[in-house]
C-alpha cells in the first residue's frame, strides 16, 4: 500500500541563516489533503525514515505545503537531506498530523517561538487573523531572524515582536506572557531549555492553557519498573518476548509489522497503533486519556502486564 504522499519540490530557497524553505506540491498539481494550523509533516528521509517538520504555509492554500528546516549539524541527518533538495526533487511524506492545535475557545493567543520554532506559528497566523482573533507572537533568536520574508507583514502589522538576543538581553518568558486571565492561551515551540522555561512560567496556569511543541523528543527517564512481556499481533497471530525496557516499535517490526515512525520519542504520533489486550504503559506526550484507552504510541510505550495484544 502506498503509505505515503508523493510530493514535488516546487520551490527551494533560503529563509534566514541556515534555513531552507521548501514549497511542496502534488506532481500534477492536485489539491493536497486539508491541514490544520500547527500540523506537522513527516518527510520520509531515505535510509533514515520519517522526520517531522511543522507546516508553515497558510492552511487555506489547498495545493501547496511549505516547510522551513534549519540545518542542524548535530541532528540525525534529516535536515542535511532537506538542505540538499532542489526544485523538481520528489519526496514522500506521511499524512500531516496536528499535535499542536489552536485552542478554539481562547479569546487571546500569545505565542513564543525560539528560532526555527516559529514555523507552526506561521501557519497559525493567517488563520487567527482571518478569525479576527486577538493574537501576538514573540520570536526569540540569536543568529539572525528566521523566515524573515514570512514574518515581515506580521511585524509591520504589529502582530509579531522580534527579540534578538545578540542585541538585547533575552526577555523573561514570564514577563512576555504576563499573568493568566480567562480566555488566554499560550503556546511555545523551541529548544528544550526554552520549553522548560515556558512550562515553569505557566506552571500555575489552568490545565490546558499553555501548549508546547517539541523540536526533538525529550530524553525519556529510565524506567526502573520496566518488565518483560509477550507481544502478540492479533491479525497474524505471531508473538515474541520483549525484554524489560525494550522497544515495542522494534519488536513490532521484528515480527514483520509495518509501523510508521518518525520522532521515536512519543511526540509526533506517527507510530500510533490500536491495542486490544494487556496493560500498556503510555510514555508519550500527546495521547489524551480517552485515546489511551484504545491506542498507544509504539515508539515509547511499554507494558505492565505479562502480555500485550495489538491490532496488527
Amino acid at each position: 500500500m502506498p503509505r505515503h504522499i508523493t510530493l514535488t519540490v516546487a520551490e527551494a530557497r533560503e529563509a534566514g541563516p541556515g534555513i531552507r524553505h521548501l514549497t511542496l506540491r502534488d506532481p500534477d498539481g492536485w489539491p493536497l489533503p486539508k491541514v490544520r494550523p500547527g500540523a506537522h509533516l513527516d518527510l520520509q528521509v531515505p535510509g533514515l525514515g520519517g522526520r517531522s517538520y511543522s507546516l508553515c504555509g497558510d492552511p487555506l492554500v489547498a495545493d501547496a505545503w511549505e516547510v522551513a528546516v534549519k540545518l542542524e549539524p548535530q541532528s540525525r541527518g534529516g535536515s542535511a537531506w532537506v538542505h540538499g533538495l532542489e526544485q523538481g526533487a520528489t519526496v514522500e511524506a506521511a499524512m500531516p498530523r496536528c499535535t499542536f492545535p489552536l485552542a478554539a475557545e481562547a479569546t487571546r493567543h500569545v505565542m513564543i517561538a525560539g528560532g526555527i520554532g516559529v514555523t507552526p506559528f506561521l501557519a497559525m497566523a493567517p488563520v487567527l487573523e482571518r478569525q479576527g482573533a486577538d493574537w501576538h507572537l514573540h520570536v526569540l533568536y540569536r543568529a539572525g531572524q528566521p523566515c524573515p520574508q514570512a514574518l515581515a507583514p506580521w511585524i509591520a502589522a504589529g502582530r509579531v515582536t522580534c527579540h534578538d538576543s545578540t542585541r538585547a538581553r533575552r526577555p523573561d518568558l514570564a514577563a512576555l506572557l504576563g499573568a493568566h486571565m480567562p480566555g488566554l492561551q499560550a503556546y511555545c515551540c523551541g529548544p528544550l531549555a526554552m520549553l522548560e522555561g515556558f512550562e515553569a512560567a505557566t506552571a500555575a496556569w489552568p490545565e490546558g492553557s499553555a501548549r508546547i511543541e517539541h523540536f526533538t523528543p525529550p530524553p525519556l527517564p529510565s524506567d526502573p519498573s520496566a518488565r518483560p512481556y509477550r507481544l502478540e499481533l492479533a491479525r497474524s497471530g505471531v508473538s515474541d518476548e520483549v525484554e524489560a525496557g525494550g522497544s515495542l516499535l522494534a519488536a513490532l517490526r521484528a515480527l514483520g509489522a509495518k509501523v510508521d515512525a518518525s520522532c521515536e520519542g512519543g511526540i509526533c504520533g506517527a507510530c500510533e497503533i490500536r491495542w486490544l489486550e494487556g496493560e500498556p504503559v503510555h510514555r508519550d506526550l500527546i495521547l489524551t486519556p480517552e485515546r489511551r484507552k484504545t491506542h498507544l504510541m509504539a515508539c515509547v510505550a511499554q507494558c505492565a502486564s505479562d502480555r500485550l495484544v495489538v491490532e496488527l
Binding site: M1, P2, I5, W30, P33, K34, M95, R274
Partner: protein, 161 residues
Amino acid sequence: MPTEISWTGQVEHLHITARAFLPMQPQQQIKLIAGEGIEGDRYRIGVEQGFYSEKPEEGRQVTLFEAEVLETILRDYKIELLPVEHRRNITTRGVPLNWLVGKRFHIGECLVEATRLSVPCRHIEEILEKQVFNSMVHRSGLNCRILEGGTVRIGDSIRPA
C-alpha cells in the same frame, strides 16, 4: 420463493481522486470504462494509484455509498461525514446497496455488477481526523465492476437490470 425487493434510486454526488490520500474531487459527471474503472480515478485498472492498489481487485472499478448512511451516522454517532469524505465514487439515494452483492443494475446509461460490500478502513480516520470507523461497519458501501461503460451524471437513475 425469495422476495425480490423493488427499488429505484438516483445519483446524488460523484467524486474521484487521482491518488491515495488526496482529497476526493466533486464531479458533475464521471466516465465509466467497462472492465477498467473511472477516468481519472485512483482505482482505474492499469493506472492504479490508490491506497489498496497493491492488492489488485477486478471488482473495485467503481464504488458506491448510501446518502442515507451519512444521515444515520450523524443521527446515531453525532459525526458529520460529508459526501466528499466517505471516499467512494457515487453517493446514492434510495438504493439498498447491502442487498445487491452479486446483482446487476443500471446507473444511468451504464451497467454494473456488485462484487462485494466495501469495508471501512482505519485509513479514513487518518485522512479525516474523525473517529468514524466504527460507525461505518457493515454499511460502508458497495464495490462493483463495470459491464457497460458510459457517462454517469448527478441525478441519473439507478435501477435493477
